[in-house]
């Protein structure tokens, strides 16, 4: 059937809206890339030009030449993976219990978990620092990763609960009749079937951990311990002349791993984000 003019116009409008939204979000990123290939002199030129007059990759070389840069990357990887892994350890049994058991105040508990997720570390920055300082967990990857875990666990739990909700109860009941304990049924039936959900929740939380700024910024003052997100910030102070272009190059380099991971594993991530949605 031929599309009516009205439909065509409607479609055109939709695509136009997509374009505007896309530009809105891509704009800063493009500007960041533009800045990263400029010379110091061109950073502050007044005319808005996306492609600089004298594009250069020098900024990238100077970032990559920085001794601490690989260290920052490694720290970022370590903290984000430790955070996601630790969150998984706590979230998996919690998600199973929330999905399968009825207990008093179950709803408030679930809402509570979500409510904690909504508290930004920024709000509790000062008490958090004093608390961690008092128990001697500042300037340590262990202390920082504990907070990464705490921050990631609520989202992880909710995502995984949605996923486990979609696994029929009769499967673990069959396993329990077949000779498993409840824990055995969890390990042998629920865990293998949750693997796609676990993977996606893990990847998503690792990516979120990668871009975590506040926690390491508060807790880690030694550059050798800092992850990339905070490390970039140091480039601001390292160079005494205008350093915006170097900062921009470092930022671009820092988001590359996250984008690559996302592109490679996007199927899993989208799966996890929609798992809960389908099975309300």
């Amino acid at each position: 059937m031929r599309m009516s003019t009205k439909q065509r116009l409607g479609d055109a409008g939709t695509y136009l809206a997509y374009l505007v939204v896309c530009l809105f979000f891509a704009g800063p990123l493009l500007w960041l890339i533009s800045l990263s290939i400029r010379t110091a002199a061109e950073v502050y030129v007044s005319d808005i030009r996306l492609w600089p007059q004298n594009p250069t990759l020098d900024n990238y070389f100077s970032v990559l030449g920085n001794q601490l840069f690989p260290r920052y990357l490694w720290n970022g990887l370590l903290l984000s993976v430790a955070g996601a892994f630790g969150a998984m350890l706590f979230a998996t049994p919690a998600a199973y219990a929330l999905s399968r058991f009825e207990f008093p105040a179950k709803r408030p508990v679930m809402i509570g978990i979500l409510a904690f997720q909504m508290i930004s570390p920024l709000v509790i920055m000062v008490p958090l620092y004093r608390y961690m300082d008092r128990i001697g967990l500042t300037d340590s990857h262990f202390g920082a990763s504990m907070l990464y875990i705490a921050v990631a666990a609520p989202l992880f739990t909710w995502m995984l609960k949605g996923f486990i909700d979609g696994i029929p109860r009769s499967l673990e009941e069959a396993a329990m009749i077949d000779g498993c304990t409840r824990f055995g049924a969890f390990l042998r039936v629920i865990m293998p079937l949750s693997l796609p959900g676990l993977t996606s929740a893990f990847v998503l939380n690792a990516i979120l951990g990668w871009s975590q700024f506040i926690i390491p910024f508060i807790l880690l003052s030694k550059p050798a311990l800092q992850p990339i997100a905070v490390g970039i910030f140091n480039f601001q102070g390292t160079y005494n002349t205008t350093s915006t272009q170097v900062l921009a190059a470092a930022s671009v380099l820092s988001i590359v791993p996250a984008i690559v991971t996302f592109l490679v594993l996007q199927r899993f991530i989208i799966g996890a984000l929609t798992a809960g949605a389908v099975k309300g």
Binding site: P168, E173, A174, M176, I177, D178, G179, L193
Partner: protein
């Protein structure tokens, strides 16, 4: 082999009681069917026997041992679920052997049991497939196979055929019956389908609203229902119920319908119902006892009363024909010969086999018998 005994069994979900203290026994090797409309507590009862639901009150014993607090894995039972509940991440072979593996059976023994089961159910060529590569009927076969591979002392079935299409359901029903005859294992089977109950069961427990209405053999339930509910639930099409009065007509005790039509009682019935004379009753007759077909059973019987009924709707089934009609002011169905050329608006002669009819108390629904 096992005997199961259920005593004063109660199940509450919070404040809400769904099973109200039921009692029944399943003898060794018996095929017991729990049947009833949805929400009658049949599945809950089965799940309590399986150990998947806690018992709120009362006792469940298997072979004389109280199992109320025994976990499912230690009850030596197998269960076939409505949704098959095959482990999606395991092959058919692994599914069949899972229960044996959990019981630490040696690998060679498991292999042997799996092959034997696959032969019985003719699923040998499916052993390496995953459940999602199977059709509904094949999945059901594997689910039954998983239960029999372990040779448990008690089989539980929770509406195992309700997800299959009609043809496959009949096929699997026969298969289950064949397996029961071969293994003679004690089985408890839950269904809402009275045909399944009648065809499979040695005995049937009819449940309604969390209480037992009647326990008996298919024959007892069909021929001697204790009340209107059981009479109406068992048999298809369902029994016809007509408001009437037990009165004197032409010097004989008869059924008098609201529109004045009368049906004479048999001698035996006159004796049985003597004490109910003059009472309002509910007259119950099954479509197959309101027919124009003579059988070896009813031919020449004393209770055959010829009447004429108006034809309203005709449903030919081939072997016989259902005629929707009116009798005594109520809608009724009668089952007549399949070859009869029937047209709505005409009248056909049929006979009522009075010896197969029942009278119920219109208030309580209880079947009236000799007192």
């Amino acid at each position: 082999m096992a005997e199961v005994s259920v005593r004063k069994l109660i199940k509450r979900f919070g404040q809400f009681e769904v099973v109200h203290g039921i009692d029944f026994d399943v003898t060794d090797g018996e095929f017991m069917v729990l049947v009833g409309p949805s929400g009658c507590g049949k599945s809950t009862t089965l799940r309590m026997i399986a150990g998947l639901e806690t018992v709120s009150d009362g006792e469940i014993s298997i072979n004389g041992e109280l199992v109320n607090d025994v976990p499912p894995r230690d009850r030596d039972i197998a269960m076939v679920f409505q949704d098959y509940a095959l482990y999606p991440h395991m092959s058919v072979k692994q599914n069949l052997g899972f229960g044996l593996k959990m019981r630490d059976m040696p690998r060679a023994k498991i292999e042997e049991a799996v092959q034997r089961t696959a032969d019985i159910l003719q699923i040998r060529e499916l052993l390496d497939r995953k459940p999602k590569q199977l059709s509904g009927g094949q999945r059901q076969r594997v689910a039954i196979g998983r239960a029999i591979a372990r040779e448990p002392q008690l089989f539980l079935f929770d509406e195992p055929l309700s997800n299959l299409d009609a043809k496959l359901r009949v096929e699997m029903r026969t298969q289950i019956k064949r397996l029961h005859i071969a293994f003679n294992a004690t089985s408890i089977y839950v269904t809402h389908d009275q045909t399944e109950a009648m065809t499979l069961a040695d005995r049937i427990v009819v449940l309604r609203g969390g209480v037992i209405e009647q326990v008996g053999t298919p024959d007892q339930l069909y021929n001697h229902p204790v009340n209107r509910f059981v009479a109406g639930f068992i048999g298809s099409p369902t029994m016809n119920f007509i408001d009437a009065e037990l009165a004197e007509s032409a010097g004989e005790a008869s059924i008098v319908f609201n529109d004045g039509q009368t049906l004479p009682l048999t001698a035996a019935q006159r004796q049985s119902y003597a004490s109910h004379k003059g009472q309002k009753v509910l007259f119950g007759v099954r479509p197959e006892h309101l027919t124009n077909v003579f059988t070896a059973e009813n031919r020449g019987g004393a209770g055959l009363v010829p009447i004429e009924i108006p034809v309203e709707i005709v449903e030919p089934l081939g072997a016989d024909t259902l005629v929707f009609s009116k009798l005594g002011g109520s809608e009724i169905v009668s089952r007549v010969a399949g070859s009869a050329d029937l047209r709505p608006g005409t009248r056909i002669p049929v006979h009522v086999d009075m010896s197969r009819t029942h009278l119920f108390d219109p208030e309580t629904g209880v079947r009236l018998t000799a007192t």
